[in-house]
Symmetry: none
Subunit: 196 residues, 4 copies
Amino acid sequence: MKTVDKHSKIITAATKVFAKKGFFNARISDIAKEAKVADGTIYLYFNNKFDILISVFEEEIGKIIEQVKKAIEQEDDPKQMLAIFVRKHLTVMKKNKNLAEVIQIELRQSDKLVKDYRNTIFQEYINLISDIIKRGQEQNLYRQDVLPGVAKRAFFGALDEVSRVWSASLETHYSLEEVIDQVISLFHFGVLTYPE
Amino acid sequence: MKTVDKHSKIITAATKVFAKKGFFNARISDIAKEAKVADGTIYLYFNNKFDILISVFEEEIGKIIEQVKKAIEQEDDPKQMLAIFVRKHLTVMKKNKNLAEVIQIELRQSDKLVKDYRNTIFQEYINLISDIIKRGQEQNLYRQDVLPGVAKRAFFGALDEVSRVWSASLETHYSLEEVIDQVISLFHFGVLTYPE
Amino acid sequence: MKTVDKHSKIITAATKVFAKKGFFNARISDIAKEAKVADGTIYLYFNNKFDILISVFEEEIGKIIEQVKKAIEQEDDPKQMLAIFVRKHLTVMKKNKNLAEVIQIELRQSDKLVKDYRNTIFQEYINLISDIIKRGQEQNLYRQDVLPGVAKRAFFGALDEVSRVWSASLETHYSLEEVIDQVISLFHFGVLTYPE
Amino acid sequence: MKTVDKHSKIITAATKVFAKKGFFNARISDIAKEAKVADGTIYLYFNNKFDILISVFEEEIGKIIEQVKKAIEQEDDPKQMLAIFVRKHLTVMKKNKNLAEVIQIELRQSDKLVKDYRNTIFQEYINLISDIIKRGQEQNLYRQDVLPGVAKRAFFGALDEVSRVWSASLETHYSLEEVIDQVISLFHFGVLTYPE
DNA sequence: AATGAATGAGCATTCATTCAT
DNA sequence: TATGAATGAATGCTCATTCAT
């Protein structure tokens, strides 16, 4: 396929621009320039600036969620599932730094609409974690006193913050693999040498 | 009642407005109205809108960091220190929801300046965690293979996300104490029943 | 049914759209849709949006003027001529409401160009009235102290406003015939019972 | 009072600009420049461009209507009242050409809202004419077969069109007094020498 | 110090017009 | 001829900031 369709070009450009300048500081003309289309062209594919943000989210993040979900479904062992989740999330985020930035920064915008929206689609994602935990508890692999509703947030927050290292800056003292292993082991064992 | 000085009144008002509407959607006039001063008055105390955000951050968050630091310094046992850290952070965030909102949302703005700034001041805070971990490792309480530089981020991210529950919304199925205990035990033990 | 040529289709569509939304609020794409042609096609027949308006005017209104002229020319009695003028004008306007709307509203656009243009072509039409009046005065049927240059405007204005009733709205308490008779008698006799 | 209040300055400027360029071709910046204020200042006094138009109408035209009404109320003889109406209308319109232009041109804009609005406030004005006619009929001064509902429109249209002479252009072959007398006599006597 | 009216730079969005197919 | 996707100039409006009082 020769001509990459404009829609994708704009989404990609917007992801980059939003990541770099933030939603509010991003100008439609920045996106247009990045996508090498005219300003007006953008409005043939999106209703307004906000719609672009939502679309970036839906299309790009949607894909990721789908991937993670699929990978997990093929596993049975909760411990493996959690490991896969961590690995997949961090790997994808490291690969697509722009996107990571957009998720982490823009979608926390205080705008009620976004927040609600985010909640809906993210809920599903985050709930993958609590589902894994519940399974682990059924198999008595995981501690019964762990509250899945709290743990899922703690784990997601940990992943989110850790992956910021790549998008926000630099300080990559650690390899992807190292980080993945670290996080998995923290989730599983905590920090203590000998649990009392 | 002494007349609360304008500076503080504006900071408080700004925290509330930023939390509610977000930095970009917040109007100077909103803040002025909330603080019951004239728009122009704000510019007698702050250089510009962005400066207000930074000030909210410095003054309010600074106080918190100070508190947490002080509480930890009086402890010696790393496990207790970590527990104190968690407890203090979550307690303060639950109390000051507006502020929590601002930390979590606005200060992730992609604006390089903010990010760098945030990183600088937060570094100090987050490093409290890695310091605790290193201490724990020295005393052989914590696993030697834990990378403090990674763990500190994971822990901070977990706390940050967990505390969002209170600022953002709803699902407060859990009491503060429950949550605190959960997080502490996750940090310490992970989820596994019997670490292999 | 022969394929009506595109030119006419566009003129007709434009008349309808201009009448409904006004020149400035009308979109080329509205006209194109109404005419069932592509936007670009319009530019094969007209130079620009304004040219469409002028063309509507010229072609449609031109026809009317021609008709009225012809009808009058076949008469000799000024009183009959005036009656014919009134009758024809009101009848045509009632029939073609869209057009009436365009004449009355859009062509009063303050655009110098339109105004001048309108004046030119309308002049000819309006002068039919003053010609009739002059004839009537020659035959001593009409008062010598009537200024044809003023009366022509008053009469045209009266007709124009009266015919608005049909295009603009509603309140058609009166039949076309009633209105025609009224206007003719007002022009001829005025309102007084017994002229002093 | 030294500083003419901005509100009036803007209304006056807008009246002039609308008259010259038409509502749609008028730029907010044109009005601002004419009023010697900043663009933004306009929005301290008006909600939007359309609101300016409505305000011009309400404030300026409202005054005129009031004047005409008052003048008529002090009369008792329908013939005098009609004469006063004509005189007042034409005098005011000649004096305030910009305003006349705005009434005649802009308020015929096809925008439903304006049209309705116009109809409401104008109705009242135009009904002054039919009221006069009815009175004249009661006193048997005016022909019983005149339909006030039609005559009012014919008369108003005549006045409106006649007064355009001054606002739109030139050809002021006639003095104000001449025109006033002409119109009054046409309304009263029509054109015929000897009514049959 | 305090006010709040005034400023004007800045930007999302629209839409007449073009042009490759 | 006909299309309609693409263009980009143009403008109403917002709001951080200033400054006369």
